[in-house]
Symmetry: C2
Subunit: 119 residues, 2 copies
């Protein structure tokens, strides 16, 4: 079983917070400093800094250096990795529907839904 868990773990976890998603949204319009990113929120700058660390650890953002500022940049590649994971199962499901359709047409009326196949 293909468990490359931790990368996806941290990425999905990072997006499971409205503040962090809002930061992503803002960064999609261009890089920004921690102060700029913290401005729209009621929470402290330190808290926003931690959120950015979470996003950075998930590799959803990167940071560069500009004097004392540490601008944050979006990393679109990581976002695409997430859509890739999701699409993997969304597409499989569409195939599933086609097979199900075939089964229903060939043996219509089979009631016992005891699926017990093992991979």
């Amino acid at each position: 079983m293909n468990f490359e868990s931790t990368a996806l773990d941290s990425a999905f976890m990072a997006l499971a917070d409205p503040v962090r998603r809002s930061i992503i949204a803002r960064l999609s319009r261009g890089p920004a400093t921690v102060n700029e990113l913290a401005e729209p929120f009621e929470i402290s700058k330190q808290a926003v800094s931690k959120h950015i660390q979470v996003l950075e650890q998930a590799q959803l953002v990167t940071r560069t250096r500009d004097a004392q500022r540490r601008p944050v940049h979006l990393n679109p590649a990581r976002l695409e990795a997430l859509t890739a994971w999701i699409n993997q199962y969304r597409l499989v499901r569409e195939e599933q529907f086609r097979s199900l359709d075939a089964v229903l047409q060939s043996s219509a009326g089979h009631h016992g839904a005891k699926a017990k196949e093992k991979p």
Copy 2:
């Protein structure tokens, strides 16, 4: 600011766990019962049942009734909602690259990167 947070919160949070993602992967091959879903894992059935509750609350899966069994089904629509959110910012970023390209071509050599514009 368009905050329809909680739905995305629970969905991303639900996928931030390898056990739950593995359950999604298994369900993409067709519905399964709690016992069947619990089999590949070392943890107890109760723990898997809780994971399924998390997925259900996030509306990533639904459950039907078959006697004492409660088969779990994937809900692909919710997965598409996540890709929709992500693509929203991935696409914006591509536009951003085009604008950045234009800026760099028109004023090449500008050194003071003191971005301070406010939306």
